[in-house]
């Protein structure tokens, strides 16, 4: 793209492109550290030769000063982070490639999480952070998507397949609601395998390296992605987790893992850092516990609708204070010693 022959400075002054380029080149030379006394004199002379030169140079000083003032570490880290620097088309190409090589990519945490971010972005159904979405599909199946979740539908003549790309979903089949049965099997696929509904209500959560399933009504059949023999029938009232090759022994459904379907967050003598990690799923930004208070335990039932309020009640149940630097950055610290 040819550069336009003039440049307008923020104050409104119009200078020539040649002057702007010359000023930029002076910066490149001076920052190199090998400009001697002679070059410094030439630079001073150049600035004094024309008011535009000086204006261009002042602009450069202002811009570079502001960049430096951003503070080296966080600003540099953010801009150099791979996820933010690629043009979207490259990211898409790479994501597609990673999808094809999905099995290999899961070992590399960073790449895998970038892929997930992309898959989440393009999924058929998504819920935002802090949002729960209720959906009714064409076959009458009801879905409740929990916070930050993404799901693709792959319905065809032989099966009704849903792919849980991220997050958590509660599935209530039309059959469980009393409608005539659709003959096609209903499946939820995760990174580790698939769950086949047997006329039922159940929840599925995609964790970093495993899938959690809890059955509330009837039963489901779990099938791991690898290992032909790894299938298990999971009955109502039980829950389990599975990896791509093995299924844990089932245990009784605990109220805590199902509380979200009622819009609640439940803690039963839970460590504060675990509690905050769970709460953090429902709000954007950084939420962390100071190591000194991470091991404190709390119990309670909290409404998920207002996460700020949950945070503000913490000091009344634990010896902590909540420091809010912004809505997006909250730290829970030990309480100040009393007077």
């Amino acid at each position: 793209m040819p550069a336009s022959p003039t440049v307008t400075l923020p104050g409104g002054r119009v200078i020539s492109r040649a002057t702007a380029d010359a000023a930029a080149d002076w910066l490149t030379v001076l920052m190199s550290g090998d400009a001697g006394a002679e070059e410094q004199q030439q630079w001073t002379a150049w600035r004094q030769a024309h008011a535009d030169h000086e204006a261009a140079w002042q602009h450069i000083e202002a811009v570079t000063g502001r960049m430096k003032a951003l503070g080296p570490h966080p600003a540099y880290t953010a801009l150099t982070a791979r996820g933010t620097r690629e043009p979207v088309s490259d990211a898409r190409r790479r994501a597609t490639r990673l999808l094809l090589w999905g099995g290999l990519a899961t070992g590399a945490g960073l790449l895998a999480s970038r892929t997930t971010a992309w898959q989440r972005q393009v999924a058929d159904y998504r819920s935002a952070t802090g949002e729960q979405r209720q959906l009714v599909l064409a076959d009458g199946t009801q879905l409740l998507l929990n916070t930050g979740s993404a799901l693709n539908l792959r319905f065809d003549a032989t099966e009704r397949r849903m792919v849980l790309v991220a997050g958590e979903v509660m599935v209530t089949t039309a059959h469980a609601l009393g409608a005539p049965a659709d003959p096609r099997p209903l499946l939820v696929e995760t990174a580790q395998g698939s769950i086949r509904a047997l006329g039922t209500r159940f929840t599925v959560r995609q964790q970093a390296a495993h899938t959690e399933v809890a059955v509330l009504e009837s039963a489901v059949e779990i099938r791991c992605r690898d290992g032909a023999g790894s299938t298990r029938l999971l009955q109502a009232g039980t829950q389990t987790r599975f990896s791509h090759s093995a299924i844990d022994a089932p245990s009784a459904v605990d109220a805590q893992t199902q509380a979200w379907t009622r819009g609640q967050l439940m803690a039963d003598a839970q460590r504060l850092d675990d509690f905050l990690a769970e709460l953090g799923r429902y709000r954007p930004g950084v939420l962390r516990a100071d190591p000194q208070v991470a091991g404190l335990r709390l119990s309670g039932v909290f409404p998920l609708g207002d996460t700020d309020r949950i945070l503000s009640t913490l000091p009344s149940v634990l010896p902590v204070q909540v420091r809010t630097r912004s809505r997006y950055w909250v730290t829970v610290l030990p309480a100040e010693p009393g007077p």
Partner: protein, 170 residues
């Protein structure tokens, strides 16, 4: 006789009336967030208004609108990644060094602006610019990090400085 501007506006409002609801639903399906969908639908028409495309030249409005909207969704995604990366990097700092919320907000906007002007530069040119201006490294240090010669670093910076320092609004 109506002025040409007026007729463009008329076409645009026709386009808006016919497709804005559809566009909003389409965006909502993608984003799962009706507020963001409404915002981006609005932005799509604004960007159509400020582009030079005459409305009557658009044969298939929906694919056309969807193309603009997809680009805006990608921009939004990128902005969110940037903001999150910055907040995460901040969270690693000792608390005493942390900037105030107002400063953070301004910083995030500045980072977006830097990201915008650097878009399209080759990765090493971009990296050299960031290392020099944000991290404050010398050319020799940058050369070491990028595994290139110091004279290459100088070339990278010559290009990045020319292309970016006067395009940036900080």
């Amino acid at each position: 006789m109506p002025s040409p501007d007026l007729s463009i506006d008329d076409d645009l409002s026709g386009l808006y009336a016919a497709h804005s609801t559809w566009l909003q639903q389409w965006l909502r399906r993608r984003l799962g967030d009706s507020f963001a969908a409404a915002d981006l639908a609005q932005d799509t028409f604004v960007s159509l208004l400020s582009s030079a495309t005459p409305c009557e030249a658009i044969r298939e409005p929906r694919p056309f609108l969807a193309t603009i909207a997809k680009r805006l969704v990608a921009h939004r995604h990128r902005r969110q990644l940037l903001e999150r990366a910055y907040l995460e990097a901040l969270a690693c700092l000792p608390e005493a060094l942390a900037p105030s919320p107002e400063t953070q907000l301004i910083a995030v906007q500045s980072l977006q602006e830097i990201d915008r002007v650097l878009d399209g530069l080759p990765p090493k040119v971009r990296e050299a610019f960031l290392l020099a201006h944000l991290a404050g490294l010398s050319y020799a240090e940058i050369a070491g990090k990028l595994a290139v010669s110091a004279s290459s670093v100088k070339q990278y910076l010559a290009r990045a400085n020319r292309e970016c320092l006067f395009a940036i609004a900080l």
